[in-house]
């Protein structure tokens, strides 16, 4: 289809406006992270640091226990991702292959669990975890994250299972492969990329999560990265802009890298889960 030149120009102008809106706040964060204090105090801040420095990064690590917080985040996110995928994959398989009462109930739960405000969930969870002495501990947080990641994991994984033709499994059975053998050597390899993408997505959501961590983790040594980041913002509002920006930038990098790897697969997975969902 030919598009008139004027319309094309309009389209490019609109696209440019979108690019500016999406990119500039992030560029400003990066620019602030590399600015020396003198430039940060300047009344006429510039886009590009005139005298870029890494001092903010060093200061950020000195001001707050970032490394320990990152390790806590890593433990919580890896634990949640691995456990969620381990227990969700078999159930997603059943949801994709059989349509019984159980499948319908599970699908209903996936939808309903998305619409409940976290407050209604966190108060009873807090009371239950307190009784189990798991409040203020990373394992307790992992338990919460696993359940929190499950709806999405089930949704995605059952979509991926549906994409594996059932005829392949039948052919393997005809050839004499047992049930377990069929699952392990036919289904699992075809499912692997989807499982990895789901696990990575669960990792990113747990790495980024703030609300549950804020409520459950009180001891500073146990807090995760997002909670520790909020400590940079003092009671007065803003403390040190440079170290704040530097720490925020570092905390984003793992999510950005992982997400760039899986974004396409996640999008297709969400739509696949919606087909005959």
């Amino acid at each position: 289809m030919r598009t008139p030149t004027a319309a094309r120009a309009g389209q490019y102008a609109a696209l440019l406006a979108y690019l500016v809106f999406l990119a500039l706040p992030f560029l400003w964060l990066v620019s602030t992270a590399f600015k020396p204090p003198r430039e940060l105090a300047s009344l006429h801040p510039t886009w590009i640091p005139e005298d870029p420095t890494l001092a903010n990064f060093r200061q950020a690590f000195e001001e707050q226990p970032l490394l320990r917080a990152a390790l806590n985040s890593l433990a919580a996110a890896v634990g949640a991702a691995v456990i969620a995928v381990l227990i969700a994959t078999p159930m997603a398989y059943v949801m994709a292959r059989r349509r019984g009462r159980l499948t319908r109930a599970a699908t209903g739960w996936v939808v309903i669990s998305q619409s409940f405000p976290f407050v209604l969930l966190i108060i009873p969870l807090f009371l239950v975890l307190k009784r189990l002495r798991l409040v203020d501990s990373v394992p307790g947080l992992v338990m919460v994250y696993v359940v929190w990641a499950l709806p999405f994991a089930l949704w995605m994984l059952s979509g991926y299972v549906r994409a594996v033709p059932v005829e392949l499994e039948e052919a393997a059975a005809v050839d004499g492969a047992g049930r377990v053998r069929t699952l392990v050597s036919v289904t699992a390899p075809l499912l692997a990329p989807g499982i990895v993408a789901t696990a990575l997505f669960a990792f990113v959501t747990a790495w980024n999560e703030f609300f549950f961590a804020l409520v459950l983790l009180k001891t500073p040594e146990k807090q995760t990265l997002p909670v520790v980041l909020t400590h940079f913002i003092g009671a007065e509002g803003v403390a040190d802009l440079g170290p704040l920006a530097a720490a925020a930038f570092l905390a984003t990098l793992p999510s950005l890298v992982v997400f760039a790897l899986i974004q396409r697969r996640i999008t297709s997975g969400m739509l696949a889960g919606a087909v005959k969902g």
């Binding site: 696209l15 706040p25 925020a248 974004q263 969400m270």
Partner: protein, 309 residues
């Protein structure tokens, strides 16, 4: 008789050999996920609803008592809560509507054969992947009255001295809404774009040959195909936005003077600052009820509208 049942059973089993495990096998596969779901999701949700009818408080020595609907009666008179509720609705509707319109525009652009498409797609990942806390911190830097780039840009353009966006009574909520739009737009865009790419190209070309303008082509060809995706993503966005917490917690903590205190922030403070678990649970129940009604009205209205069109 017994022979007949055997034959029946055999017949029923025969085509099932290649099928996935049923009966006990299925339960075995489901249990590892089902138990955590029941213990840590379904159970707590029901428990949370029950708590709304008690006087549960944090750190109290007396046993918790049933108080019937007293929490809800108190809540009905709690003007602060309803003000927060009103703010929450303004926030959720404004953010969801703007997210949808902007995302639709961007998705339509990305569906065209434009240069720099890859850049927009790459940039769309940034807000999606970022921790909400970092999004909040980042926009605090943008809105910062002295060192922020927004005021500096306004000064450069000669549009006045700028202001303290997040502390101004009039500007705080709009400023926070812009951040909400920024954070949620990419996900909506990517979903709508995937929906767009499923619309039949041939229909588009046929309509163009018949002389239909861009707007008519959108109304007659694109929108009908896109509608199911658009409805689903808008409904989900509305729920998520109404339940938003981290962004606003970092940006304003609900200030100034409660102007950006979303219902989730209100309930969080009630539960974990003042320890009023029962009362906060009642708030959660009211939030679920209202958002369910809103969604039902929205979806029924949309579906009807579709039949008329």
């Amino acid at each position: 008789m017994s022979g007949a049942t055997e034959v029946n059973g055999a017949r029923r089993r025969a085509p099932g050999t290649g099928r996935p495990p049923g009966g006990h096998g299925a339960w075995f596969l489901v249990l590892p996920a089902l138990i955590p779901i029941l213990v840590l999701s379904v159970g707590p949700l029901l428990y949370g609803i029950l708590l709304a009818f008690t006087d549960a408080q944090s750190g109290r020595t007396q046993p918790t008592r049933w108080i019937g609907a007293l929490n809800f009666r108190d809540l009905a008179r709690d003007t602060l809560f309803w003000e927060s509720f009103r703010i929450g609705l303004v926030w959720a509707v404004a953010v969801t509507a703007a997210q949808f319109l902007l995302a639709l525009g961007l998705a339509l652009l990305l569906d065209q054969d434009l240069r720099l498409r890859w850049l927009a797609r790459a940039l769309a990942i940034v807000p999606w992947a970022m921790p909400e806390v970092v999004v909040g911190i980042m926009w605090r830097l943008v809105y910062n009255p002295d060192a922020g780039i927004l005021n500096e840009t306004l000064r450069d353009l000669g549009l006045g001295d700028g202001r303290d966006w997040l502390s101004g009574l009039a500007t705080a909520l709009p400023a926070v809404i812009v951040v909400g739009i920024w954070a949620g737009m990419p996900q909506t865009t990517v979903t709508l774009l995937a929906g767009l790419q499923n619309t039949p190209r041939e229909l588009h070309e046929a309509a163009a040959v018949d002389g239909a303008g861009a707007w008519r082509r959108f109304r007659a060809v694109t929108w009908p195909a896109l509608r199911p995706v658009a409805l689903a993503v808008t409904a989900l966005n509305l729920i998520w936005n109404f339940n938003a917490f981290a962004l606003v917690y970092v940006l304003t903590s609900g200030g100034p003077g409660g102007r950006t205190r979303l219902p989730m922030l209100f309930a969080y403070e009630e539960a974990f600052r003042y320890g009023q678990f029962g009362y906060a649970a009642a708030m959660g129940c009211v939030m679920v009820a209202v958002i369910s009604i809103l969604l039902a009205v929205f979806l029924v209205g949309r579906l009807r509208g579709g039949e008329d069109a």
